[in-house]
Symmetry: C2
DNA sequence: CCAATGTCAGCATAACTGACATCA
DNA sequence: CTGATGTCAGTTGTGCTGACATTG
C-alpha cells in the first residue's frame, strides 16, 4: 500500500497494530486498566521478581518512570513490591496471581495476533519481518547515550 | 539478538532506532525543537497546504491533538496556518521556507539511516522488512472473540 | 567516601473527552 | 438541521531532571 512511506512510520504502524489489540483484549477480557507503557513493563516481569532498576534498563526509561508504572500496576493488584532479601536497598517487583493470569493472557493474545498476521500476509513475510527485526541494527547515530 | 522478544517490542525498538536519530539530526543540525510527535506530522505536510483534520486522520490522533502539535510548529516558524480559500471553516497548514528546509533535511536523514541499516543487516533484509510492513495487515482487533 | 536504589517533587509533553461557535 | 472543522478547557498518562535517604 504505502510504499513511499518512510520505514519509521511503517514500524510505528506495525507496533500500533499489536499494541491496540493487546490492550483491548487485556482490559476487556481481564477487566484491567493497563496502559500502553505498563504493558511494555509487563513483558519483562518474572515470577521470581525483578528489580525496578533492572526493569528501567530493560525497557529503556528512567528509574523514576518505572516507579510510576509499577505503582499503577500495584494499585490494580497485578504486581506487589517486596523487599529484596539479597539487598536491603533494592525491592523486587513480583506479579501477583492475578498478574500472572494477565501475563498468560497477554502471551496468548500475542500468539493469536501473530497467527492472524500470518494468515493475512503469509508465513514467509512474517518470518522475514521477525528475522530482520531480530538482527543487530547497532546504534543509529547516537554518540553513546550518556544515560544512567 | 532477542529472538524470543514479541513482535510488538521488536517493532517499537525499530521505530525508536529511526526516531531518535531523526530528532537528534533535525534539532542539532537545523536548530529546531521538534518532538517525536511533531515529526510524525511533519511527514504528511505538503507545500500546497493540508487541513488539520486531514492531518489528524492521517497520523491517527484527534483533531485536538493535532491542533496542539501544529501550534508548536507554528511557534518555531516551521509552518503557518492560513484560511482555506475553498472552505470558510477550514484552515490550511503550510510549511514555511524554513519548514521546507527541515522537511528536506528529514528526508535526507531517512535516506541515510536506511542506507546505514542496509550496510548493517544487508539489502535483502531491509527490502523484506519494508515489503512485509507495506502489506495490508488489516484490522488487528477482534481476536477470536470469547463468546461475548 | 562512592555508587546504586528507590522515592518524591516539579516540570514538560502528548493525547484524550467534552463542549462550543462557525460554516458547508 | 446535520455534520465537519477548529478551538478552548480540563484531565490523564508518560517521562524527564533534580534531590534525597538508605544501603552495599
Amino acid at each position: 500500500m504505502d510504499e513511499d512511506q518512510n520505514l519509521a512510520r511503517l514500524l510505528l504502524d506495525g507496533f500500533r497494530w499489536f499494541d491496540e489489540a493487546l490492550l483491548a483484549a487485556l482490559n476487556e477480557r481481564h477487566d484491567t486498566r493497563i496502559t500502553s507503557s505498563q504493558s511494555l513493563l509487563f513483558a519483562d516481569l518474572s515470577q521470581h521478581g525483578v528489580r525496578q532498576a533492572d526493569l528501567a534498563r530493560s525497557i529503556g526509561v528512567s528509574r523514576q518512570a518505572v516507579y510510576e508504572l509499577v505503582r499503577g500496576l500495584e494499585q490494580q493488584g497485578l504486581v506487589k513490591v517486596t523487599p529484596d532479601p539479597t539487598s536491603g536497598r533494592s525491592k523486587l517487583v513480583v506479579p501477583t496471581k492475578r498478574g500472572v493470569e494477565s501475563m498468560q493472557l497477554a502471551k496468548e493474545v500475542f500468539v493469536g495476533l501473530e497467527a492472524e498476521l500470518r494468515s493475512r500476509i503469509g508465513d514467509m513475510s512474517v518470518d522475514r519481518l521477525r528475522a530482520a527485526l531480530a538482527e543487530d541494527w547497532g546504534e543509529s547515530r547516537r554518540s553513546s547515550d550518556p544515560a544512567s
